[in-house]
């Protein structure tokens, strides 16, 4: 389960289109499931299913027909699985293409992709039109797929979703991957937010290694601490007479904000 994070226009969808062999890469090498997406398109596409970010359906076809068509093109699917997914996503398959709302169009594409038994799911912002209830249904479905040992590439700008679902994350900025790793590895380069009340506030707090954004108000201290400096920091705080302590684990949000706050190179 790989998360692919970045704000609008950072190149997430373009990368996915290249991975699908829809776009020809200007330069660089692309590998997908040990194949070249441009040359081995058909062989690779037998093994994957894709949900685009902006789902567009055929006005002449009902949602159910579109699901069946895409499923049959992918080499068949289990009708029982389709019925189950339709029920879970509360989707009416008899409406025609244009009368679906954005969220329901997305559900049609999701059901079509999830109904297929493929190795790899490529999902481009799959929940951008879904309500919170449907988002949790979606997360359940993805958990089940993960449990079956299948691979998911999830592109999103909703960090909580990526944090909840993904094992590994790549962060994109202006078409470049700026961070990549497991969620654990990424947390290592992130900072823990600390609010502490101390008996006496050390004067040189701001110069301690790995400590940033220090704010002192009476004997209350707020600061961000780099993960490797955390142990050292705790010892020093105890020495200052720790009265109360609140720590917040690092979120991708912060990492994200920091990556984007910096001026593009």
């Amino acid at each position: 389960m790989h998360g692919f994070v970045g704000p609008n226009g950072s190149g997430k969808s373009t990368t996915i289109r290249i991975l699908l062999g829809l776009l020809h890469a200007d330069r660089g090498e692309v590998m997908l499931l040990d194949g070249d997406p441009w040359r081995d398109t058909v062989a690779l596409h037998r093994r994957l299913a894709y949900v685009p970010g902006e789902v567009s359906l055929w006005p002449q076809l009902s949602g159910g027909e579109a699901i069946d068509l895409l499923g049959r093109l992918r080499g068949g699917f289990d009708p029982a699985r389709k019925a189950e997914l339709l029920e879970r996503f509360e989707l009416d398959p008899t409406k025609t293409g244009r009368s679906y709302s954005k969220g329901n169009r997305q559900k049609v594409a999701l059901v079509a992709a999830l109904a297929c038994d493929v190795e790899l799911l490529i999902l481009d912002e799959p929940t951008s039109g879904l309500d919170p209830l449907m988002e949790s249904v979606f997360q359940q479905c993805i958990e089940e797929i993960k449990a079956q040992g299948r691979t998911v590439l999830l592109s999103s700008h909703i960090l909580s979703e990526v944090e909840a679902l993904c094992d590994r994350v790549s962060i994109l900025r202006l078409g470049q991957v700026v961070q990549r790793g497991t969620l654990e590895e990424l947390r290592r380069v992130t900072r823990t937010h600390i609010v502490a009340t101390l008996e006496r506030v050390p004067e040189d707090l701001a110069t301690w290694p790995g400590v940033h954004e220090v704010l002192v108000h009476d004997n209350r201290v707020r600061c961000d601490v780099e993960t490797p400096a955390l142990n050292d920091m705790m010892g020093r705080l105890v020495a200052c007479g720790l009265i109360s302590l609140v720590t917040q684990p690092p979120t991708l949000e912060e990492l994200f904000l920091r990556e984007y706050a910096e001026e593009p190179a």
Partner: protein
């Protein structure tokens, strides 16, 4: 009511600005038709004798009445221009009105742009009014352009104004038709189909009324009203009142309907479909069949109806065989006038079939621009197969359209005793196919190689139409005439068949299709 129209002028200005290039193209293109026809009259019929022959041959001839409307006052450039062009110019302007009204009402509503604006300070009827207003504004400008062009060519101002007013009024009525259609259909496409269907029926009613003894039928058709003004002869101004009253009534109905429907919905509710796909919808060809079948059936039905009416009057053309000298000038070489008439008719059907072909092949491009092709091509479907599934319908469909048109014409002509046979007319429609496919191939090549320019298929077919319809009349140089694929189609029935141009056009068509296919497989998908 003024509140309901708040924002009208802002919306009209916005629409005119947005569409300025395409609207100017419509105005210039439509004004070109009468002005050039008028200007060429003197060189085509220089002597009084020519003009008397022209009048004697064509006035009271039902075949020409069917194609263009009843002829009168052909001894003058003005009368000749009015007869030859008023219905065509009004029909083109009607198409402009339909597309403009639908674009600025239903299509915008569908895409959500209207919602963005409706949240602002815009009245309830302002969108509809702005769509109609923009179309009316272009009708007015087209009328002005025609008057200026005709008067500059030496036409009598009264006649020129009557002619231009008739054309503009024809365009206006169809703005009203489209205003109703956008309330009925939930989607822009449905509204366009409904309005264009109404235009086709108007043309057929007029054709039938003019060519048969049921003259009253012409009065049922807004296109019929445009000829009843008899510009450059009696200038019956009161017929404009008919058009204006009809427009007001149509717009009135549309306003009532606006009040009765919800935003984003049409009176024709978007219907439900089956929950599961039939077995036939299992691949890209099954999908193409679903996407193309409705349009293909519409075109086939239209040409079958036109062929039945046009074929049934072919016999009456025989009465003017004596004037075949004139016929030759009009239609090219041939042996008898019935055959010349049918050859001309089938030629027009060939061009119409090519219009269908372009539409069908551009369907592939709109699948791409609307983003639907991404979902398809992320499955084990190859691009070549996907593109081929649309090309098949463009090629086989366009051939089918011209064959059905020919068959219907031939049967009607033979049944009413015209001196031709169904098989001869069928042969005439079969020889159109290489030229049709050449144009389909050119559009396919554009889609494959320069997708952003694929809409150039439309100017190509428009130029082809002008060259075929007006080229020989205008004595255009050979190099221009030869640029149209349909110039190289053998004149059947009656003429001789030279296989070389047919084989050459087929070869070029195949080559262009190949270029399109290779381009499609090599390029990136561009939405």
């Amino acid at each position: 009511m003024t509140d309901a129209l708040t924002g009208f002028w802002i919306l009209v200005r916005h629409a005119v600005r947005l569409d300025r290039i395409r609207l100017i193209a419509w105005i210039v293109g439509i004004a070109f038709i009468p002005v050039v026809t008028y200007a060429s009259y003197d060189s085509l019929y220089p002597t009084l004798g020519d003009r008397i022959t022209l009048g004697a041959t064509l006035e009271s001839n039902p075949a020409f009445a069917l194609l263009l409307g009843p002829a009168s006052n052909l001894g003058e450039a003005g009368g000749y221009t009015a007869w030859r062009t008023v219905v065509i110019a009004a029909a083109f302007l009607a198409v402009m009105s339909i597309l403009t009204v639908v674009r600025h009402t239903r299509t915008d509503e569908e895409s959500g742009r209207t919602e963005l604006l409706a949240a602002g300070c815009v009245g309830r009827f302002a969108f509809l009014a702005a769509g109609i207003g923009t179309a009316a504004f272009v009708c007015l400008l087209t009328g002005l352009a025609i008057v200026i062009g005709l008067v500059a060519s030496g036409a009598a101002p009264t006649g020129a104004i009557a002619y231009a007013a008739a054309v503009a009024a024809g365009g206006l009525v169809f703005a009203g038709v489209a205003a109703i259609a956008v309330q009925i259909g939930s989607f822009g496409r449905t509204a366009i189909s409904l309005s264009v269907g109404a235009l086709a029926i108007a043309y057929l009613l007029r054709a039938w009324g003019d060519a048969s003894s049921y003259h009253w039928l012409t009065w049922l058709s807004p296109l019929g009203w445009t000829e009843k003004i008899h510009a450059f002869s009696s200038n019956a101004w009161w017929t404009l009142v008919v058009s204006l009253l009809a427009t007001i009534a149509l717009v009135g109905i549309a306003v009532v309907l606006v009040a009765r429907r919800d935003f984003g919905r049409g009176l024709l509710a978007a219907h439900h479909g089956p929950a599961d796909a039939p077995a036939s919808l299992s691949g890209t060809f099954g999908l193409s069949w679903r996407l193309h079948r409705g349009r293909l059936a519409g075109w086939m039905l239209g040409l079958a109806a036109y062929g039945a009416i046009a074929g049934s009057v072919a016999n009456s053309v025989g009465s003017v065989i004596a004037h075949s000298g004139l016929g030759q000038r009009f239609l090219g070489s041939g042996h008898n006038f019935v055959e010349l008439y049918i050859a001309e008719l089938i030629n027009v059907m060939g061009i119409v079939a090519a219009v269908y072909g372009i539409q069908a092949v551009l369907c592939a491009r709109s699948e791409e621009t609307d983003g639907r092709v991404e979902e398809l091509l992320s499955t084990p479907l190859t691009r070549g197969r996907w593109f081929a599934s649309h090309l098949v319908f463009a090629l086989a469909g366009s051939a089918l359209v011209v064959i059905v048109g020919g068959l219907s014409t031939g049967i009607a002509a033979q049944a009413t005793g015209a001196s031709t046979t169904t098989s001869a007319v069928m042969a005439a429609s079969l020889v159109q196919i290489p030229a049709i496919w050449l144009i389909v191939g050119a559009t396919a090549a554009l889609i494959g190689v320069v997708p952003r320019a694929s809409q150039l298929g439309w100017p190509i077919i428009a130029a082809t139409f002008v060259i075929s319809f007006f080229g020989p009349l205008l004595k255009l140089p050979h190099i221009v005439l030869d640029a149209s694929a349909f110039t190289h189609v053998p004149h059947l029935p009656g003429g001789s068949v030279d296989a070389v141009p047919l084989i050459a056009m087929s070869a070029i068509a195949v080559a262009l299709l190949g270029v399109g296919m290779i381009g499609m497989r090599r390029r990136s998908i561009l939405s």
